[in-house]
């Protein structure tokens, strides 16, 4: 598997990409599901739980991606990301907020000096159905407005029709448009359907220059299922072994409870390795998850659960 990785980068013809991607070892769906389920039985308690919850908070990309988003909503979200638990100064900030590209300016303003990143979805999110020029314009505008991270979607139609070259070119072009901003590539695994496709799309995106590979837009179900995250973690591990470059992973969509988040961290540790237990290399795209993490945090500290009204909704 490793030897051909660089070949694929140099010669991104459809044939070369196909040969490389289809030459990757297959994924056995039953086995992958079983492994993910096995890891989900890991028991993370007391000190380990405290460390995991704090880390998970720092990995959250706090997200609002609605047609009804307004500057007010984004400012509220930014305040929440900056200081998730006003009652507890020890609660860390979230990693970033994630908004549509037209609201990047608002978010940047609201988060100035906080250390919280601003991620923008771009490239005709969530469908990805737009001409490349429109996708690039979308990206450039977000970066110009101060986005530090770009979450692009791949063209699933092109991927499923076997036009890997088109997917590769789009990612390369968007990566260029990103300049210094980090590029997260959304595979929309719910539309790729098979784990073999998830593995191929992961390698395709990594080969084209993705800094992160991300499961989903959150608009399609199923989203970040444990077997999908498992396969993507195997992919970044393998890619690092083959090329020396470390790519991050971001599950998004469907992770709503602290328990799910901790299970993801266990997978990170035991599949990719502890190196990825770092907000620079693992993010969780979520909105309601954050308050459950805070609630479990405060339960660990105080011994009792506070009701939902003790945690700010945004």
């Amino acid at each position: 598997m490793p030897q051909t990785a660089s070949a694929a980068e140099q010669a991104p013809t459809n044939r070369a990409l196909r040969e490389f991607l289809h030459g990757l070892p297959g994924v056995d769906e039953v086995g992958a599901r079983e492994r993910a389920a096995g890891l989900a039985t890991r028991s993370v308690k007391t000190t380990a739980k405290a460390a995991a919850l704090d880390l998970a908070v720092r990995m959250v990309d706090l997200t609002t991606l609605e047609g009804a988003d307004t500057p007010g909503k984004v400012r509220a979200l930014a305040a929440k990301a900056r200081r998730p638990d006003p009652d507890d100064p020890s609660a860390p900030s979230a990693a970033a907020v994630c908004v549509y590209s037209d609201l990047v300016g608002v978010a940047v303003e609201a988060l100035r000096g906080s250390g919280v990143g601003v991620a923008s979805v771009a490239t005709a999110f969530p469908s990805g159905r737009a001409p490349l020029e429109a996708k690039l314009a979308d990206t450039r505008r977000a970066v110009a407005d101060g986005a530090t991270e770009i979450d692009m979607v791949i063209d699933r139609g092109a991927f499923l029709s076997g036009d890997y070259r088109k997917v590769h070119e789009e990612i390369t072009a968007v990566k260029q448009a990103c300049g210094g901003a980090h590029l997260k590539v959304i595979l929309e695994t719910g539309e790729l359907a098979t784990l073999d496709n998830v593995r191929r799309a992961s390698w395709l995106a990594m080969g084209a220059g993705a800094d992160f590979i991300k499961t989903s837009t959150g608009k399609v179900a199923p989203a970040a299922t444990p077997p999908v995250v498992l396969v993507m973690l195997e992919a970044v591990r393998g890619h690092r072994a083959a090329t020396g470059r470390t790519v991050g992973v971001k599950p998004a969509g469907g992770i709503r409870t602290a328990k799910d988040a901790v299970r993801n961290l266990v997978m990170v540790q035991e599949v990719a390795g502890p190196r990825w237990l770092d907000p620079a290399l693992f993010r969780i795209g979520a909105s309601s998850l954050l308050n459950d993490l805070l609630m479990q945090r405060s339960k660990l500290r105080t011994g009792a659960y506070a009701g939902p009204d003790y945690f700010t909704i945004d």
Partner: protein, 515 residues
């Protein structure tokens, strides 16, 4: 022993190609900022399952005719926790008189009650037992872990649920025996003498008792000398289910007790699971007696990994195949046959995966590898591992500190093994994997079959035609493909050659208990 821990006679540790073991980065941790992880391992805090659900008695009597009655020998054995060598309880060492009483009770129950009971009524008792096993699952799981040394995650997620599943499955058969393919009105055999091993004490009991009872037989069962407690708890379950006295009898003791039981003239059928050596002795003793006999004996299962296999899942399957239950599995995939073209990459992934195995307190919910059941078994594993080294194979174990007390053996992989090595031929019955390579499918099959055993095998390939071609040619009772160690009550299990004869589970398994 500690000498083998973390040794690496090959000089190769897991490379970057796989998850890095947590232990590696401990030292660097202090240098990093604050208490934040940032690329440092998440150390799982101890998560022990509580022992308080189990009430151990100081001494246990055998279960005969529906009651716990003192053994006439007056002698006892001590059963201990293999993880810390602390004694758990005294159990009776039953002798001839006790076995006589148990067989007589089983005969009375067979003649007076059980054989004539309508199948639907027998089924109700079996359903009841299955439900009680589920209700008391946590208690049974903890007790099994204490007595056997296997990790709680296995007793909780495998042994107990699968045992209950066997009772549920056979409860369904009890009133449908006319459809078992044994004629319109198959009859029970009579009194069954059953001897089970220590590796899956409760599950092997379920495999034996459930079909026997469903078919209308009564039972005298002897659990293994080192793991009698779950069988005695099962006796309580029988009482709780209101099972008529004498239908199930449990006599405890050592090999002598087992011999007395299987050779008892009152037994109509003998079922034994255990070592090939003992099985051979039983077959010899029973020859010409007219008793029915099924034997489920040893194995040296081969896991064949072709170059087009889903490698990450194949690694999982190989790990599960040989390290599940510390390798104390008769159908363990203790030989890895990997195609030479992917052998190096596969072994690198395998070693990295092995480095993640957590060995330690069996009651901790995060423990993957528990204690070896007995000092005698540990001795045997060490002996064979030592032979492997002496014969020139390379042993490798991940960094894996062993607890000071108790019986422990680190997960070990032998490379550079050939068919001629003892570790490739003899059943180790421990967490020891022998790796051999092959070049062509024909060679893989020839090597897999080149063993006196024939219990299990695994085939890993993404190509359906090759999978079927291989499976057709493997002489093993069970062939798993792209998975390993899957047990379903509906699926018959048993061996070829020195792995024994007869099948357990499924419609085929009923045959042994019906005339």
């Amino acid at each position: 022993m500690s000498g083998t821990s973390g040794t690496d006679t090959d000089g190769g540790r897991a490379g970057d190609g796989a998850a890095e073991p947590a232990q590696d980065q401990n030292r660097a941790r202090a240098e990093r900022k604050g208490s934040r992880l940032d690329g440092q391992p998440l150390e799982y805090a101890p998560a022990p399952e509580s022992r308080s659900v189990v009430r151990l008695r100081e001494a246990y009597d055998p279960f005969i005719d529906g009651e716990f009655v003192p053994a006439e020998t007056g002698e006892h054995l001590t059963t201990a926790n293999p993880a810390d060598e602390e004694p758990l309880a005294q159990v009776a060492l039953c002798g001839e008189a006790d076995v006589d009483r148990a067989v007589a009770a089983a005969r009375r129950a067979f003649d007076a009650v059980w054989r004539e009971l309508p199948g639907a009524e027998r089924g109700k008792y079996l359903f009841r037992i299955a439900r009680i096993l589920q209700e008391r699952s946590r208690e049974i799981a903890v007790l099994e872990t204490l007595d056997n040394g296997k990790p709680i995650k296995e007793t909780r997620d495998f042994d107990v649920p699968t045992a209950a599943a066997h009772f549920f499955y056979h409860a369904g058969w009890a009133d449908k025996l006319a459809f078992a393919g044994m004629g319109p009105d198959p009859r029970p055999v009579g009194v069954c003498a059953q001897v089970v091993p220590w590796n899956f004490p409760l599950l092997m009991l379920a495999w034996k008792i459930a079909p026997a009872l469903a078919a209308g037989n009564t039972v005298v069962l002897k659990p293994a000398e080192t793991t009698p407690l779950s069988a005695l708890l099962f006796a309580e379950v029988c009482q709780e289910a209101g099972l008529p006295p004498g239908v199930v009898n449990i006599v405890t003791g050592d090999g002598g007790t087992g011999r007395t039981l299987v050779e008892h003239p009152g037994a109509d059928k003998v079922a034994f699971t255990g070592s090939t050596e003992v099985g051979r002795g039983i077959a010899r003793a029973l020859a010409g007696s007219g008793k029915r006999l099924t034997l489920e004996l040893g194995g040296k299962g081969a896991n064949i990994v072709y170059d087009d296999a889903a490698l990450d899942q194949a690694v999982e399957g190989v790990v599960n195949g040989v390290f599940f239950n510390q390798g104390h599995v008769c159908c363990a995939g203790s030989r890895l046959l990997v195609q030479e073209s992917v052998a190096e990459e596969f072994l690198e992934r395998l070693r990295a995966r092995m480095a993640l195995l957590r060995l330690g307190d069996p009651l901790d919910k995060n423990t993957d590898i528990g204690a070896v059941n007995s000092a005698a078994q540990l001795e045997r594993i060490r002996d064979l591992a030592e032979t492997g080294r002496a014969e020139g194979a390379h042993a490798w174990s991940p960094p894996c500190p062993l607890p000071e007390r108790g019986h422990w053996f680190p997960p070990t992989v032998f490379t550079g093994v050939t068919q001629a090595h003892r570790v490739a031929r003899e059943e180790v019955f421990g967490p020891v994997l022998s790796v051999l390579t092959f070049r062509t499918p024909e060679e893989a099959v020839a090597k897999a079959n080149n063993t006196p055993y024939g219990l299990s095998a695994g085939v890993w390939t993404e190509k359906g035609s090759r999978m079927l071609w291989t499976a057709e040619r493997l002489r093993a009772g069970v062939v798993w493909s792209n998975t390993f160690n899957k047990f379903d009550p509906a699926s018959p299990f048993g061996g070829y050659k020195e792995s024994g004869y007869g099948r357990e589970g499924g419609r085929h398994g009923l045959e042994a208990y019906l005339a």
